[in-house]
Amino acid sequence: WVGRGGGAGGGNDIQWCFSQVKGAVDDDVAEADIISTVEFNHSGELLATGDKGGRVVIFQQEQENKIQSHSRGEYNVYSTFQSHEPEFDYLKSLEIEEKINKIRWLPQKNAAQFLLSTNDKTIKLWKISERDKRPEGYNLKEEDGRYRDPTTVTTLRVPVFRPMDLMVEASPRRIFANAHTYHINSISINSDYETYLSADDLRINLWHLEITDRSFNIVDIKPANMEELTEVITAAEFHPNSCNTFVYSSSKGTIRLCDMRASALCDRHSKLFEEPEDPSNRSFFSEIISSISDVKFSHSGRYMMTRDYLSVKIWDLNMENRPVETYQVHEYLRSKLCSLYENDCIFDKFECCWNGSDSVVMTGSYNNFFRMFDRNTKRDITLEASRENNKPRTVLKPRKVCASGKRKKDEISVDSLDFNKKILHTAWHPKENIIAVATTNNLYIFQDKVN
């Protein structure tokens, strides 16, 4: 396990402790409060969440109190704003949901913070800036803003800045609209910090952050005849270091790596990553469970991780024919696929994430369980995000699901799992062992135990 700070561990396993939980307490979940995305910024100081109601809530980590060094700083609400509103597509007579599908932070260049947020159709660049001073002493304006009669001014003074209570303002700086016919599932900022891509079910577009009225289409898999459609794009991401390289995953379990230098339209991949199917596991549901719900490059750029319904796979970019590592998230569900198809759970899109040093990966499951896999020790752990363990610094107890046979004490049987409690979105602090785990409408923050 990774020791503090993300370096090589000292042989001690990490002990995850409850830190905070955000969101409503009651079980009756308001639809608008359903969390739809979670993302740390590049320093880890800010944590953004998006919800189904189109709102973005940003939490800020308070500075570590050197005296009380038993825990890292807590995350408190920094800014809340309405990013997207519901819209109506008059041509198709359909509602466009305001749900925030993804948030991606830009690296900080000046005092303000910038992030991209997207719903199904429109991407917006938001500037979040602080204001802690206000000018006072205008000659022509009263303090409340009313204009003075110039004839009453007898002396002149120089306005000065005086401190005020901190105000955090979010303002939309760019709106990138009307470029997607289908639903946007991914946005990814390029390592050049000037361009970014947005992907929908059938197309990927390349944008410049400064230009909103044009985007370049770089991938188009729409067939000439829609009747022939059998595969869609499920996720896309830019390589963290190579500004010409990106990958996109499909509903058939393939990942294509594309090089934008090769041609303007990257319909022909440079590399195709696909694992041959295991014939002994073949069923009518094989394709559905092979559909990739998330793809994430490692921080190093050497590997990428994909999440399909039952597993997490790590791929070496130099090897296309199979992943280098495969981790089973909830193999006990394999015999339940039919029921999961019936209730649509088989279509749930789980995300996955790397820790800062790329040594541990994490993903969510059902019953508010989430899983971590240590790539070095090959050990894995299942933990639960629940208000029952909500005393700060309480170490989380590992959970275990009993697939069949005699259920041991403290184990939970597959049939008792609550499939409405799913953890789809998780995020790992880029530098520390702090994780954010989203249940349906609550955000949990866990930290490793600090002695």
């Binding site: 007579s93 559905i288 559909s291 649509d344 759970c345 279509f347 049939d415 499939f419």
Partner: protein, 241 residues
């Protein structure tokens, strides 16, 4: 070929004495379950048209599943080739699932005029629905598996229907659908009843070998109810129309 564990349960009944009969039972049970999966998939494809813009990924995956079943059934020989005149009949409203679910209603409906692409497809299931109890639905599902004529001959038109499903994903016009619903006599909420029969009824279904995902204690958020919740929503819209 099916979800693990199902076949084993059937095979367990085999005895030397029953021999071939048991073998036939296993095969038929598999066909029945496969048919149920096909019906479920078709209903899912239709349901996703009813609400907001359908999730294209989900629709594509379901459609591919349906194609797989169709291919297998074609190889098995259980998928009869369509007679030319049957193909000319309006295929859109002869979707397999509606036949299975409401065969009693067919006699009254008669021939449908070939409807437009966007709305005709959804007219089929709505106008063909009739008040059926879960038990009735179950019997229809069972009997359809054994029936070699009747519904089978319409299945060849299935392929075209599937393609048209995709066209409707692009050209769907929900306001048109609501007009259609307002004329329907048979209450739409019966689809709820029918699906309940399909999902958790007393007869073996495709998930029979599985305990089902509902916890032992009755809970309001039972996993299999999410589809029904969707239906409730649709019902609310319709009842107000």
């Amino acid at each position: 070929m099916f979800a693990r564990g199902l076949k084993r349960k059937c095979v367990g009944h085999e005895e030397d004495v029953e021999g071939a009969l048991a073998g036939l039972k296993t095969v038929s049970s598999y066909s029945l379950q496969r048919q149920s999966l096909l019906d479920m998939s078709l209903v899912k494809l239709q349901l996703c048209h009813m609400l907001v813009e359908p999730n294209l990924c989900r629709s594509v995956l379901i459609a591919n599943t349906v194609r797989q079943i169709q291919e297998e059934m074609t190889q098995d020989g259980t998928w009869r080739a369509v007679a030319p005149q049957a193909a000319e009949r309006a295929p859109l409203d002869r979707l397999v699932s509606t036949e299975i679910l409401c065969r009693a209603a067919w006699g009254q409906e008669g021939a449908h005029p070939a409807p437009g692409l966007g709305d005709g497809h959804t007219q089929g299931p709505v106008s063909d629905l009739c008040p059926v109890t879960s038990a009735q639905a179950a019997r229809h599902l069972q009997s359809s598996a054994w029936e070699m004529d009747g519904p089978r001959e319409n299945r060849g038109s299935f392929h075209k229907s599937l393609d048209q499903i995709f066209e409707t994903l692009e050209t769907k016009n929900p306001s048109c659908m609501e007009e259609l619903f307002s004329d329907v006599d048979s209450p739409y909420y019966d689809l709820d009843t029918v699906l309940t029969g399909m999902m958790g009824g007393a007869r073996p279904g495709p998930c029979e070998g599985l305990e089902g995902l509902a916890p032992a204690t009755p809970g309001p958020s039972s996993s299999c109810k999410s589809d029904l919740g969707e239906l409730d929503h649709v019902v609310e819209i319709l009842v107000e129309t």
